[in-house]
């Protein structure tokens, strides 16, 4: 099934988290691969997140900011809410 834009964005943020993004050590290549995205497309999404201050670059890799974590939490919350309302989105 084709992923929506929101699904792709939340996948990227989740992958950054699970690859060590909370301590600024997420490798961009590994995140792109884990999120199942071509690297050029991942770069565009990453630049977008950096512009929104959701993700920062550090010397060791990528760091997810508090704003990024809040956004991820809100996406998870809204998805779960609509799932419980009986909508599969």
């Amino acid at each position: 099934m084709k992923r929506s834009k929101v699904d792709i964005y939340s996948d990227v943020l989740e992958c950054i988290c699970s690859e060590g993004g909370k301590i600024g050590k997420a490798s961009p290549t590994r995140v792109a691969r884990r999120a199942n995205l071509p690297y050029d497309r991942f770069q565009k999404i990453l630049e977008h997140f950096i512009g929104l201050e959701m993700v920062n670059r550090t010397k060791d890799g990528l760091l997810i900011t508090a704003k990024g974590l809040i956004c991820l939490e809100q996406i998870c919350r809204s998805k779960e809410f609509f799932r419980r309302m009986g909508l599969s989105i």
Partner: protein, 231 residues
Amino acid sequence: MTREVLMVIGFISLLLNLLLVFFFFKAYRYQRSSIVLCLPLGFLFLAISYVFLFAHFFYPYVPGLSSPLMWLRVVTQTLGYTLIASSYLLSRKNNRTSKFSFSTLSVWSIVSVISLFGLLLVIDPIGTLSIYSINGIFTAANLALLTYILYFIITNLEMKQGSVYGLVSAPIAFAFLWLGQFSFLIWKFDGGTASLYSSEITRVISLILFIRIYYLVSRGCSRPIDINEEK
């Protein structure tokens, strides 16, 4: 006495519905899907219908105002249920993204309803009163729409992967809405206060159940934001 009680229940329904609309639009901001969009809009129209009902209880004996108010109440309510049902209908089809914002949609919905109300007041069509007198048809349509929603949710419960915990709250809430409409239909025939109260109370219960779903999700999905802790 009945009028005062109905006014209080109507006001509670309105407040609960507005709260629910706020939660739905808040959730929509993070999904931006046309499927999801119909749900908050539908509840917004239901809230608008409660405003008309409340206004009708407030000005019951103004002849030029009462009939268009109740006509609009019935129409906006059916429109609300139609939008909610279309949300479930659309979820079977392709998911498309939407760029509409909360303020744009709210303003457009409210402006269109006020324009319709103004038009009814100005031109005062002869058929207005007669249409309201057959509002049992609208109630039957609401029941059909709610039946479809219930059928959709219940048949899709088994198809979900993983846990079904928490997924039964929505059908229960919709069942209460259905019961409310059914009681209203009975009231149209027997005219008893018990069925009228029942229709109002079940509606309030259903709105509380919807709000409870959001509350449980908010509590369950919260993750500790501890980026500084792990540094």
